[in-house]
Symmetry: C2
Subunit: 214 residues, 2 copies
DNA sequence: AAAGAATAAGTGCGACCGGTCGGTTTTATG
DNA sequence: CATAAAACCGACCGGTCGCACTTATTCTTT
């Protein structure tokens, strides 16, 4: 991460290609998994030679770690970002859930969800990759919880609410969307995931009217 | 499936070894995925030669399909079975959820959940394996729903309840347990998953007293 | 005792894997 | 314009994969 020796087009170009490669890497990993993220596959997908990739990542683990980092950037931009543009409180919580579903439904990642694929693969394989994935999940749950805490502070959710518990539920209802959408049906699944969280929040909110009806 | 040519111990023995192999195959696949279920790995794990396995399954896909079938048998026995021994109605629904959590927590499968691993791997790979996984998920959701319908019929859940919706929620809250337990913490995760479904059912039940309190 | 199927084992092939190496092109700097 | 650094490439290595083919060995039925 020590790029940017001002005005050096070589480094700039290098960074651009790195990011372009990572964009593809995350997309490929969402389909084939982080283990199926092969240098050969990645190179072919980009129309690039395999060895050219080794100039940027000395081994596969580095590539995997950077892919996790890039997936987090994507997630921050496309899921957390839109939520933060909604009014704070219970509406922001629901906006977060909807942004997540929109991100899945939008098909930005052909495999559905990078993190689900990576976590199910690495949750039982000790190492740096697992550690970063665990950290990612921890941070994500912390973010959901922080929005819930905010809603409590604003008085839109009841005081004393177990926000950690609710954060788990919201995450679970969003996450299982990925597989269900592809194996059961997209529209039906997203409708159910949306409704589940909406009804849950409406049931808890001090003023359910601020949330959409259906 | 044309075993059992009356009294022929060879076929019987063949079936037994097949089942022993499948038991290991499902366990291995829960860790390394259905793709990571290689003949070499399976043979080594069993202390058997690779070629001996080819006598039973001519190619990898056959093995994968049979592994799915065996995982379904396990699931039927260890998750659906205990539930059916609980009194019908809302208690049976919750017993199903608890049996699932117990199955996960019991560590019968070292990788946590065969189906989650397999589904996230194959949900975007057309083929026979995906088809069987989709069928498995469909049947499972249908089973959950049937228990819910039963509870409605018994008057323990309100008439007009969208049981398909609730079945999705219950499945989601159970499924995300697998990854969370390993990356966040076992006890905390199972407690949350248990509580989430319990509270949901208690909120809907015409007589919440039939369900446990905490 | 003979026959024959089920099971096990060895061997080899082509494909692909992660990774290395030597060399060429591009780019900023003196 | 020379040079060095970075980006990039083609060829290649050792290893493992799925899988076929061939050859024993074990067990059951006749």
């Amino acid at each position: 991460m020590d790029d940017e020796k001002r005005g050096d087009g070589r480094l700039l170009r290098g960074r651009r290609t790195r990011e372009a490669v990572l964009e593809s890497a995350v997309a490929l990993a969402s389909v084939h998994g982080l283990d199926g993220l092969t240098f050969a596959r990645l190179a072919e997908h980009l129309g690039v030679s395999k060895s050219g990739l080794f100039a940027h990542w000395k081994d596969k683990e580095r590539l995997q770690l950077d892919a996790v980092g890039w997936a987090r950037r994507q997630w921050t931009e496309h899921v957390m970002g839109p939520a933060l543009r909604a009014p704070a409180g219970v509406r922001r919580v629901f906006a977060l859930h909807e942004a997540r579903l929109a991100f899945y439904a939008g098909g930005a990642l052909p495999g559905g969800c990078f993190f689900l694929a990576a976590q199910t693969e690495f949750d039982d394989r000790p190492g740096a990759v697992r550690a970063r994935l665990a950290e990612s999940l921890h941070d994500w749950l912390g973010f959901v919880r922080s929005l819930l805490d905010e809603a409590v502070t604003l008085g839109e959710l009841p005081a004393g609410l177990d926000t950690g518990q609710l954060a788990y539920e919201i995450d679970a209802l969003g996450e299982s969307t990925v597989v269900h959408a592809r194996l059961v049906g997209h529209d039906l699944t997203y409708a159910r995931a949306r409704r589940a969280v909406l009804e849950r929040l409406r049931g808890l909110a001090t003023d359910p009217a601020v949330l959409p009806e259906g």
